[in-house]
């Protein structure tokens, strides 16, 4: 029954999202069957690889957001955190102070550190000055954009006649190779996929099995009860913001070491916001987030050819994605309330079967 409830809500949300997107297509006079025919077709082999790669990046972003969510912290700043961190990693990797994979490792550490520090600012503001992390992380996103653009100018190598500016490229020996999934396409799965798997397993383990994870969840479930139980809530806010930022720092690394090999003005942006949506969709569950990330990546990839095939903007799937998130939030709440009622009924039926050993209050008073 719990499983039915858990999967019922996202299924409901998907159906609603498809209906609403279809409605938009009808109103716009576009071919509904054409769009869904393309989106719901089987991807090409290259498409499969692209989906996995995009999902890897989405996954890291969503886990970063989910850590905050588990604590009732709304880290909207993953977007800024991963850009600051990717830039820091790109600079470190480009300078190549260490040889080979040692250089890669140092860059990863730099990314984690930079992401954590950027998020930590919001955490510190929250506990010392009471600034809502929603506000401060939005501001920090804007600040990150400006800061990275400024520093990029300082550190960028001369792009020659091109308008594109970027950091020094990561040396060949420090790049992370991919896996070949299909022999008929040169596109490879990011080697950093392993990083996402490790992060997912670690996230699930820490949240569910450790004392720290218990404190984190307890604080998210009821701050008042957490305080009474002896949890230092302020410390938890700072630590979980640091952790969230540290994971956010990893978001851009598959791109940096597996595809772009430098941080430039064309580096993919907006991943942090997709992460918020996917974390919501996946209910902060390590496995649920993975499904959500794959779904979002699938929609992105399948919508790409729409422009060429049907002259319809692929942005139509953004409507689908947005509606999924909106409807899933509603559906989860409906299912949650239903679940509570179900459980209360279950408790009362289970207890009505046994004879009450103590008189209930009404009888005593009568």
């Amino acid at each position: 029954m719990r499983l039915v409830l858990a999967f019922g809500a996202p299924a409901l949300a998907l159906v609603a999202a498809f209906l609403i997107t279809s409605l938009v297509l009808v109103v716009a006079g576009d071919s509904v069957s054409g769009v869904w025919g393309q989106i719901l077709s089987l991807p090409t082999h290259r498409g499969y690889v692209n989906i996995i790669n995009a999902a890897t990046v989405y996954y890291l972003s969503a886990v970063a957001v989910a850590i905050g969510f588990r604590m009732n912290l709304f880290n909207i700043g993953v977007d800024g955190q991963y850009r600051v961190a990717s830039f820091a990693a790109a600079v470190v990797a480009g300078e190549a102070w260490l040889p080979g994979y040692l250089n890669t490792a140092l860059a990863v550490v730099a990314a984690i550190f930079a992401g954590a520090m950027w998020a930590g600012i919001a955490g510190l503001l929250r506990v010392t000055r009471g600034v809502s992390e929603v506000i401060s992380t939005i501001m920090l996103n804007a600040t990150a954009t400006a800061l990275v653009a400024y520093l990029l100018r300082k550190t960028a190598i001369d792009g020659g006649s091109s308008n594109i500016v970027s950091t020094k490229p990561v040396p060949e020996g420090s790049r992370v190779g991919g896996f070949t999934l299909f022999s008929d396409t040169p596109t490879q799965v990011y080697g950093m996929l392993i990083l996402a798997v490790v992060v997912g397993v670690a996230y699930g383990f820490v949240i569910n099995r450790t004392r720290f994870g218990f404190d984190l969840r307890a604080t998210g479930a009821s701050e008042t009860a957490a305080v009474a139980s002896g949890i230092n809530v302020k410390r938890m806010v700072v630590v979980s913001m640091l952790l969230s930022g540290a994971i956010a720092g990893l978001v851009g690394l598959p791109l940096l070491f597996g595809n772009d090999y430098a941080y430039g003005s064309t580096f993919q942006s907006g991943l942090g916001f997709a992460g918020i949506a996917i974390a919501l969709l996946g209910r902060n569950h390590p496995f649920g987030i993975a499904l959500g990330a794959l779904l979002f990546a699938f929609l992105d990839e399948q919508a790409n050819p729409l422009q060429i095939l049907l002259n319809i903007s692929p942005d139509i799937v953004k409507i689908t994605q947005g509606t999924i998130v909106l409807t899933v939030v509603i559906a989860y709440e409906v299912v949650r309330r239903y679940g509570i009622r179900l459980e209360q009924r279950r408790v009362s039926t289970a207890l009505d079967d046994e004879p009450p050993s103590a008189p209930i209050e009404q009888e005593v008073r009568a």
Partner: protein
């Protein structure tokens, strides 16, 4: 004290009943808020509803104002049976409510605030202004329609709220703890206004736990205890001691029959505990107390005199608290809440749903809460699921927690079973000091007896127990020593063997001081 029911006709009390509540019952998951509530409110009277916090006054008034629907019982307004499913229904029936926390927009004028949401009645312009001035003069409220609300003091804001209710045509006005926010002069003004209202034939329902105020303004008083009406009496036929006694109960289910187990060994010693507040008045000052092994120290007091602050200061949840505190000879004043718990403090919080439980989490996770650094819940940095689950099974068995299983969410249990789980959990930590704040509030009688038994057992086992309760019978029945807290000061000490609820009642209200 049943004068009212026997005195059929009293000249000062008009006999037409405008509100008649019969057998009202309301249950929330985990709490029985009201049952068997019967109240008659007469036209042209101020009818006070008194009871300790948590006795069910607010829920009852929400039912009468249409915010909550009762599970059982009937409501009659002006002789007609009504079903109130929203405040709009209540207003249509002539019932209005002034909440404790005002619902006014600061940046709008009085006129704008009054007409907001009631634009259809007299428009928003001249007609509305005329009506407001007419009401203000008619009831001597002294409200000026064009002043910004942010420029008004608390008393004036309250009068605006009353006017809002009158403007919407209410003839029955509920005031929820109206004096809690007022200084004494403002209280006198308010009472003057209330007398005007009743002189004009309106009925005022006045919720309070301040007995002296109730007696000075009310015509009739209904006492609520543990969610049920105890009795309705005429205000001029009782004194505050008698009311206090009715509020906290006079049935003694378990008198103090056991032998004293008090030893000489001091477990908790608090000296010169002090807690300031942003508002200036100290929440706690010069608190000195000692609890010995095997001793139950009961704290009596009217709600809001520093009980919650005292408990939270001892638990380390109030960063501003200063003073000296020793637990079993160890200085705990500088310790965090977790360190104090580890040092041997068990804590049964006043509000179990907010401070004691994670309502959406299963029982076994709630077993871990507050004990997440100790065996059998953890091994090293990891949660020991098997250990925690096994011990939860034991608590469920030994403390008679009625539940289908330990994976049930805590929020689905009844209040008594939630509390038994908390008691079992706190005793599992092998505490040397048990702090129990209102341990039987909102629980059924069966669970109440069980919880009392557990506290007595803790005392026999040599724990020091700090017991806070609004139920004087509970205090007298369980305590070895009773002290009264009044305005943040810990005062007189009483021997429960000789003290009466009346003596405590007057010490609590400061009547004897």
């Amino acid at each position: 004290m049943r004068e009212l029911s026997s005195s059929t006709a009293h000249s000062s009390l008009a006999d037409d009943i405008v509100v008649r509540l019969r057998d009202i019952g309301k249950t929330f998951p985990g709490v029985v808020a009201n049952h068997d509530v019967n109240i008659d409110v007469r036209r042209g009277t101020v009818h006070a509803v008194v009871g300790e916090n948590g006795a069910g006054k607010s829920t009852l008034m929400k039912i009468l104002y249409g915010v909550q629907k009762p599970d059982s019982g009937t409501i009659e307004v002006n002789g007609r049976q009504v079903s109130l499913s929203s405040p709009a229904d209540a207003i249509a029936a002539g019932v209005g409510m002034v909440f404790q926390h005002f619902m006014l927009a600061d940046n709008l004028t009085v006129l704008e605030n009054v007409v907001l949401g009631a634009e259809k009645l007299h428009g928003i312009g001249g007609a509305a202004r005329t009506k407001i001035l007419e009401l203000s003069d008619g009831y001597s409220l002294g409200v000026e329609p064009d002043v910004l609300v942010e420029e008004l003091g608390v008393g004036a804001r309250q009068r605006v709220e009353i006017l809002k209710v009158l403007y919407r045509g209410a003839s029955i006005i509920i005031l929820d703890e109206p004096t809690a926010v007022l200084v004494p002069q403002e209280v006198d003004e308010l009472f003057g206004n209330l007398r005007e209202l009743k002189a004009e034939g309106l009925a005022v329902i006045f919720i309070s736990h301040k007995l002296d105020e109730v007696l000075s303004v009310a015509d009739e008083v209904t006492v609520i205890r543990r969610g049920a009406t105890v009795d309705t009496v005429r205000a001029d036929s009782v004194n505050s001691r008698q009311l206090a006694e009715m509020m906290v109960g006079s049935e003694l289910p378990t008198p103090h029959t056991e032998e004293s187990t008090v030893t000489e060994r001091i477990v908790l010693q608090v000296r010169d505990l002090h807690l300031g507040s942003a508002g200036g008045r100290d929440l706690l000052s010069e608190i000195d107390l000692v609890i010995r092994s095997g001793e139950v120290l009961g704290i009596a007091g009217v709600e809001g005199n520093g009980q919650a602050e005292l408990v939270e200061s001892i638990m380390g949840m109030r960063p501003g608290a200063t003073g000296h505190m020793e637990l079993g000879g160890v200085d705990i004043a500088g310790m965090s809440t977790r360190q104090r718990r580890e040092a041997g403090v068990g804590y049964i919080p006043e509000d179990r749903q907010r401070h004691g439980l994670l309502l959406d989490a299963p029982l076994w996770e709630n077993r871990v809460l507050g004990h997440q650094t100790r065996k059998p819940n953890v091994s090293g940095p990891l949660i020991d699921r098997a250990g925690a689950r096994k011990d939860t099974e034991r608590i469920v068995r030994e403390y008679d927690v009625r539940t289908p299983g330990i994976d049930t969410a805590a929020g689905a249990l009844s209040g008594g079973n939630q509390q038994k789980l908390i008691v079992g959990r706190e005793m599992a930590g092998n505490p040397i000091l048990l702090i129990a704040a209102h341990p039987t509030r909102g629980v059924d009688v069966g669970a109440q007896a069980a919880i009392w038994e557990h506290i007595k057992r803790a005392r026999r086992e040599g724990l020091a127990v700090l017991l806070i309760s609004a139920d004087l019978d509970e205090l007298i029945g369980l305590s070895d020593t009773i002290r009264v807290i009044l305005r943040g000061h810990l005062g007189q000490e009483f021997d429960p063997a000789t003290v009466t609820p009346q003596m405590l009642g007057s010490a609590m209200t400061g009547a004897d001081a």
